[in-house]
């Protein structure tokens, strides 16, 4: 499902005299219509395709009218392209500043997956302003905000862009419906999106890929010969109860649910006509609906079970957990080697490689080389570019030969209060892009002690999201900052995260106008994407601490999407 489907589906468009819908591709449009309307993201490549279509028509002596609607905004570069291709005069352009798509009661997506690659790989800041506008839109609808926190370079820029837009626009006094805002860059926490998801919604996303809040279950799930598109959100009562559960609890829950359902059906027995009538008109429809949902999710769970309970998945999880804990690293590396050489999965191997690099603060030169060489042998030399990208984005690093840099850095680190020294570390960190995961994990207590039993049915903290092995760094930061009302006492943590943190009070008087429930409403904005695991974790945190989190993200991501966006053999 595409974002457009969620706003105006095919029948709506047809009602408005749309003749036919096409996907924008690099091929001629075969249609008798003399008007073409393109609704596109402002990508130069796409505009080039459109130019080709128009020029082909021109060459064929065909007259058509063209309109391009750019969403969420028009870029100068796109118009320059039209001009260069000589069709600027023949095309009318428009802007549709659509930047927020609510996926659920508490999840809003900007549906901009390219945000991640453009910003964190290419250093192209074109979307920052769009993020600022999205925040501004929310602010003008539900603001004023009483407090804003954030971490990361992009967050800071988005915040500044928002601030500018607020200053330019007119202020209206309103009752605030959102109390606080937390902005976070994806590159602050790469560990979380690289882990295998084991909470139901995350698992469904990892395996079936949820697109725009909608998933397509294949025949193996629906146990028929047809595929089925299903919306996954809080409207689905069965899904709503299991989406945040660890997968090991899902079956128990579903069978309990099935028993309850059977019980409800069984009520029919011994009813008189009148009761039966009431039952049919009031309850039966709901029960049938629930029945349908239930069997679908049972089907999905079975399919997941088939894929995930195999021996190798257990071993994969075990390896991930040891990487997070920092134990038995050599064994993990051997596992990874075998994973690569047996060509288990191109993406999974890269994922583990990145996870290894980040948790270990970079790979030893020997391992770095041999793993890369192995990978190239398995999947081809074009992945040299992939590695170059991963390195650029900070997902993959080589430990510097000798400890010269780190020793120096730790020395400088002690003088961190000194401004110039701070700048020096900045310079170093930009040089090596250290992840410092191990130190962060200790500081924030991200990895619970492994010898304690963790009862996944009764989660005691956010670690249940990853089977009790790891508390999500991103969500932990949210928790800590909200608790402390800022970054005070977290100097060491922010230094390890390469700084760029901020905590500011919102518009004056907003605090007074934010009353009661609104104070506990926190908007968390992920720049570069967030995972369903993170959403689940925030939902848990909200229940525990009495917050209501609203997640805004540039796109929903997971490990495969993250890595796919960095693959080198695409232009």
């Amino acid at each position: 499902m595409s974002p457009l489907d969620r706003i105006a589906n095919v029948s709506t468009l047809k009602q408005h005299e749309v003749d036919k819908l096409y996907k924008v591709e690099h091929k001629p449009v075969v249609s008798t219509s003399d008007q073409l309307c393109f609704l596109i993201r402002p990508r130069i490549q796409t505009v080039k395709w459109i130019c080709d279509v128009a020029n082909a028509d021109k060459a064929a002596g065909r007259f058509r009218r063209y309109k391009i609607i750019f969403t969420p905004r028009k870029f100068y570069a796109c118009e320059a392209m039209l001009e260069e291709q000589g069709i600027f005069g023949e095309v009318t352009t428009d802007e549709w500043s659509f930047c927020l798509l609510p996926l659920d009661d508490d999840v809003i997506s900007m549906e901009l997956p390219e945000f991640f690659r453009d910003n964190f790989l290419a250093g192209d800041q074109r979307w920052v302003r769009t993020a600022g506008s999205a925040l501004h839109l929310l602010h003008s609808l539900y603001g004023p905000f009483s407090k804003l926190y954030g971490i990361g370079r992009c967050s800071k820029m988005a915040y500044e862009s928002w601030r500018e837009q607020v200053e330019e626009g007119e202020q209206t006094a309103r009752r605030a419906e959102i109390g606080k805002v937390f902005l976070i860059d994806r590159d602050v926490d790469f560990v979380t999106p690289l882990c295998s998801q084991v909470v139901y919604e995350g698992l469904v996303d990892d395996i079936f890929r949820i697109k725009c809040g909608c998933v397509e279950f294949g025949p193996d799930v629906t146990s028929s010969d047809k595929s089925l598109k299903v919306m996954l959100n809080s409207q689905d009562k069965v899904f709503n109860e299991i989406r945040n559960e660890h997968f090991s609890n899902v079956f128990g829950f579903l069978s309990q649910k099935a028993r309850n359902l059977q019980g409800a059906y069984d009520k029919r027995r011994g009813m008189d006509i009148k009761q039966m009538k009431a039952f049919v008109s009031e309850e039966l429809k709901g029960l049938k609906q629930e029945h349908r949902l239930l069997s679908m999710h049972i089907g999905a769970s079975e399919s997941i079970m088939k894929k995930k309970t195999k021996q190798d998945f257990q071993e994969l999880l075990k390896t991930e957990h040891s990487l997070l804990e920092g134990f038995e690293i050599r064994e993990s590396i051997s596992f990874l080697e075998e994973h690569i050489s047996r060509q288990v999965s191109m993406m999974e191997s890269l994922r583990l490689l990145c996870l290894l690099s980040i948790t270990e603060n970079g790979l030893l030169p020997k391992d770095y080389r041999s793993l890369k060489a192995q990978y190239l042998q398995s999947y081809g030399a074009d992945h040299l570019l992939t590695f170059s990208n991963l390195r650029q984005a900070g997902l993959l690093a080589e430990q510097p030969a000798g400890e010269a840099l780190s020793a120096m850095e730790s020395k400088v680190g002690k003088l961190v209060n000194d401004k110039t020294a701070g700048k020096l570390t900045d310079a170093f960190s930009s040089l090596a892009r250290k992840s410092n995961f191990r130190a962060l994990s200790r500081k924030l207590n991200l990895v619970p002690k492994s010898d304690e039993e963790y009862d996944l049915r009764v989660p005691r903290d956010m670690a249940y999201i990853f089977s009790g092995a790891y508390v999500l760094l991103s969500c932990k930061l949210v928790e800590q900052v909200l608790e402390r009302d800022g970054w005070t006492g977290m100097d060491e943590v922010t230094r390890l995260l390469n700084g760029h943190e901020f905590a500011v009070t919102g518009s004056s008087g907003a605090d007074a106008r934010t009353q009661g429930d609104a104070r506990r409403v926190v908007l968390v904005m992920f720049l570069g994407g967030c995972t369903f695991s993170e959403i689940s974790a925030l939902r848990f945190l909200g229940r525990e601490k009495g917050y209501k989190f609203i997640v805004v993200t540039t796109a929903i991501t997971n490990s495969s999407r993250l890595i796919e966006s960095l693959l080198g053999n695409q232009i």
Binding site: M81, G123, I571
Partner: protein, 808 residues
């Protein structure tokens, strides 16, 4: 209070008053004689042109502009031809046609569509433009029998059409866009005579016509009706004839002016006559007539009804009583109470207060205003639910009006005019007259939002200030910063643009520094050719589009080297440009990397390019370039990997040629797989050795490949070729995958003890697994075996349980 009514003259039921507005500040030697005078309505300025008909071609008459109080505003010599008519408009030209035909007469008129002009040409044709801002000349149809100019004419505005009403003496015509219609005045006595003068009211609703027999006809301008006909008993035509009415007029009148006489002729047939000593000019306003002479200026108007009610002698209107009550109160007389009681008994106190407030608005004299407002305030005290809004607003507006009426400002606005004109326009007029402090004071006093008020004034002030040539850039910038500060809505970039227009580039740059939004600075900086500065400001603004605009601009402006150097100092701009080049200009991208000596990116560039290349030779040469660059970048790993890729490509090519294997573009692993599948073991072996493929990988590969092809003998041979680096469990599992239990069994014995249980279980040999587990005395292994047992394996279960307990 008798003196208030001293200048009142009764006209029918109503009264007219003539009150002095100003002693004129100007000093005119010859009075208004031989002058063309035009005064703008709403208390506007006066334009004066002496001797419009030149005595000699060389004399240049002076065009002088004064405020309504006679303060000189501007003066310049008139350089063009003879002037026919003077009126207030904005600057415009009527084009060649008008220049060629002589203009006999002209009239400037104001309508809801703007300011218009109508002229009579030498060929007796009318040409009209209804709105000079959107200049469209219309030639009106010919008037039958008209020679020269008509005896008199006026412009009418009816039914959203602008028409001309003209008289050729005896005949009366209406000229519209398409036709010329003869009309007659209803009810005009036949002995009336021919028409010598016409006048239309301020609102275009009424028409007054004077005949040569001295009869004045009045009626609505659509000519369907007659209001009155009065014999003025004057046979000479007047110099000027103007309507004098006000909104809700009780007794409208027409003012006629002769050399020494001013006559007010009411529709009721009454007249008032004022002798005049000096040459005068009448200016029609919406609520009266201004009379300008060389020494003073007066306002003639019908006394508003509310003022009549209050000030009329022996009036018993509630307002009059309240005024009286307050007067007694001030004298500490108990009569105050009596008056008050009287109003209250009729429960008219609210009405009384309203009357006083309204009347105050209409009074010109501050003392009268004060006493009325005081009376209103006094009355208000006895009311509990009287809204103070009207009182407060009137107070404020009166203060504003009094201050603009000051002789130094010279805007004699009445309250009615002010309301019609709106405050916005008043502020604009003050700003154009450069009364900045007054305008700002007014905005602040009336609490107008900064955006519409103070900021607007400051904007005007600033763009005027930058034009002051006598001040240094530094001084102006400083003054600007001090005055404007960061008032919302004032754009420093606009001011800077103005400064640049005036040729003060340095000042413009200084001013741009004050601009908080860096995005706003960019366009002007580009215009001023400060491109480097523009680029850094664009980057600062965070608006990538703006950065891109500047980059494109620079690309066209600078030579390539400088352009690249500039980008190098701006990483944000550089990465944007790179993105663009990646899609559009691959070659430029290469140059860019070259310039920066960025060997790594250059190498990556070659690698990317190699994948777009179809021919192997060019591909290899691109890869060779990549190798060179990787070496320069000291990236040995990538250099080696690329070299190996080249070797692999050559190898694949060779085999493709020899055996048609279809290997090109496959990875090393896939190549080996393909070779094994084709049975080309030797070649696979060669790759394994040449590319130092790890043993484990090769063994897995060969194991899988042989099992898939079910070459079990070959597999057994392979297993014995040397000690397996991947162990033998793998063999068992792979065989089982092909469902060959027989072959799998062969390898179970070779499996290491740690994996033996697993191996037995893999071939579903529970007994063997149990033996192995018991032998190893391993609880978890025993448990694993147990979990695989079914009820039928009772004996086995017992054995395992025994072993388990025995250990304990």
């Amino acid at each position: 209070m008798t003196f208030i009514t001293a200048n009142w003259n009764p006209l029918g039921e109503a009264f007219y008053r003539k009150s002095e507005l100003y002693e004129m500040c100007w000093n005119l030697r010859d009075g208004l004689r031989d002058c063309l005078v035009a005064a703008a309505p709403y208390g506007g300025p006066i334009a004066l042109l002496r001797e419009p008909v030149r005595r000699s071609p060389s004399s240049r008459p002076q065009l002088e502009i004064y405020s309504a109080s006679g303060v000189s505003i501007a003066s310049f010599p008139w350089k063009s031809g003879p002037v026919v008519h003077l009126g207030w408009t904005r600057h415009f030209s009527m084009g060649q046609e008008v220049v060629q035909s002589q203009v006999l007469e002209a009239k400037v008129f104001h309508s809801p569509y703007g300011t218009g002009v109508a002229i009579v040409t030498g060929s007796s044709r009318f040409i009209m433009a209804t709105n000079i801002d959107d200049l469209k000349l219309r030639r009106l149809p010919e008037v039958p029998g008209l020679q020269g100019k008509p005896s008199c004419w006026v412009v009418l505005n009816q039914d959203r059409q602008t028409k001309v009403l003209l008289s050729t003496g005896s005949e009366l015509y209406i000229l519209d866009n398409t036709s010329c219609t003869a009309v007659s005045l209803p009810g005009l006595a036949p002995q009336g005579g021919s028409i010598v003068h016409m006048s239309v009211s301020f609102s275009y609703k009424y028409l007054a016509v004077l005949t040569d027999s001295g009869h004045l006809w009045t009626g609505p301008s659509h000519l369907q009706d007659k209001m009155s006909e009065v014999d003025t008993k004057k046979l000479t035509p007047p110099k000027q004839m103007v309507w004098c009415r006000r909104p809700k007029s009780q007794q409208p009148s027409v003012v006629l002016m002769w050399d020494r006489l001013l006559m007010v002729v009411g529709v009721c047939q009454d007249t008032i006559q004022f002798p005049t000593e000096d040459q005068c000019v009448l200016v029609g306003e919406m609520d009266g007539v201004r009379i300008i002479s060389s020494t003073n200026q007066e306002l003639l108007q019908e006394v508003p009804l509310v003022c009549q009610e209050i000030f009329k002698i022996a009036s018993m209107a509630p307002g009059a009583l309240l005024l009286e009550a307050h007067r007694e109160y001030e004298k500490s007389s108990q009569k105050a109470d009596e008056y008050l009681r009287e109003i209250k008994e009729q429960s008219m106190l609210g009405e009384a207060v309203s009357q006083c407030i309204e009347a105050a608005g209409h009074e010109y004299d501050p003392n009268t205003q004060k006493s009325l407002m005081r009376a209103a305030s006094f009355g208000k005290c006895f009311l509990t639910d009287f809204s103070p809004g009207q009182f407060v607003t009137t107070c404020r507006e009166l203060r504003v009006l009094n201050s603009v009426r000051e002789s130094s400002v010279g805007l004699p606005l009445t309250h009615t005019q002010f309301k019609q004109m709106t405050l916005q326009v008043l502020i604009d007029r003050l700003v154009y007259r450069q009364f900045y402090p007054l305008a700002i004071e007014m905005c602040r006093y009336l609490k107008i939002p900064d955006y519409q008020g103070v900021s607007r004034v400051l904007k005007h002030w600033a763009s005027c200030k930058v034009q002051q040539k006598d001040l240094s850039d530094e001084a102006i910038a400083r003054a600007m910063c001090a005055k404007v500060g960061d008032s919302p809505g004032v754009s420093y970039s606009d001011i800077a643009a103005k400064a640049y227009e005036c040729g003060r580039t340095e000042l413009a740059i200084k001013l741009l520094d004050f601009e908080a939004r860096s995005g706003e600075q960019v366009p002007l900086l580009l215009k001023m050719k400060r491109s480097q500065l523009a680029l850094s400001k664009a980057v600062e603004s965070g608006d990538t589009d703006l950065v891109y605009t500047v980059v494109t601009y620079l690309k066209n402006e600078m030579n390539r080297g400088d352009f690249f150097m500039t980008l190098r100092n701006q990483p944000v701009a550089l990465s944007l440009y790179r993105q663009f080049c990646k899609l559009q200009e691959q070659e430029t991208l290469k140059d860019l990397y070259n310039q920066d000596d960025d060997h790594k990116e250059l190498a990556n560039y070659y690698v990317t390019a190699s994948y777009r290349e179809k021919r192997l030779e060019s591909r290899l040469s691109l890869l060779q370039s990549a190798v060179d660059e990787y070496n320069k970048a000291k990236n040995e790993f990538s250099a080696k990997a690329t070299e190996e890729e080249m070797r692999l490509l050559r190898f694949q090519r060779k085999l493709d040629d020899e055996k048609g294997a279809g290997l090109l573009e496959l990875s090393l692993q896939a190549t080996m797989e393909a070779l094994l599948a084709l049975g080309l073991y030797k070649q696979a072996e060669q790759l394994y050795r040449d590319f130092r493929v790890p043993d484990k990988r090769y063994w897995w590969l060969k194991l899988k490949s042989l099992a898939e092809k079910e070459e079990w003998d070959e597999l057994e041979k392979f297993s014995k070729s040397k000690k397996s680096p991947i162990g033998y469990l793998a063999f068992v599992e792979v065989c089982m995958k092909s469902n060959n239990k027989y072959e799998a069994k062969k390898y179970v014995s070779k499996v290491t003890p740690e994996q033996r249980v697993k191996a037995h279980l893999a071939i579903s040999d529970l007994d063997g697994a149990a033996d192995a587990a018991i032998e190893r005395k391993n609880d978890s292994e025993i448990a694993t075996v147990l979990s695989r047992c079914s009820a039928a394996d009772r004996l086995l279960i017992e054995r395992l349980n025994r072993a388990s307990t025995a250990k304990k």
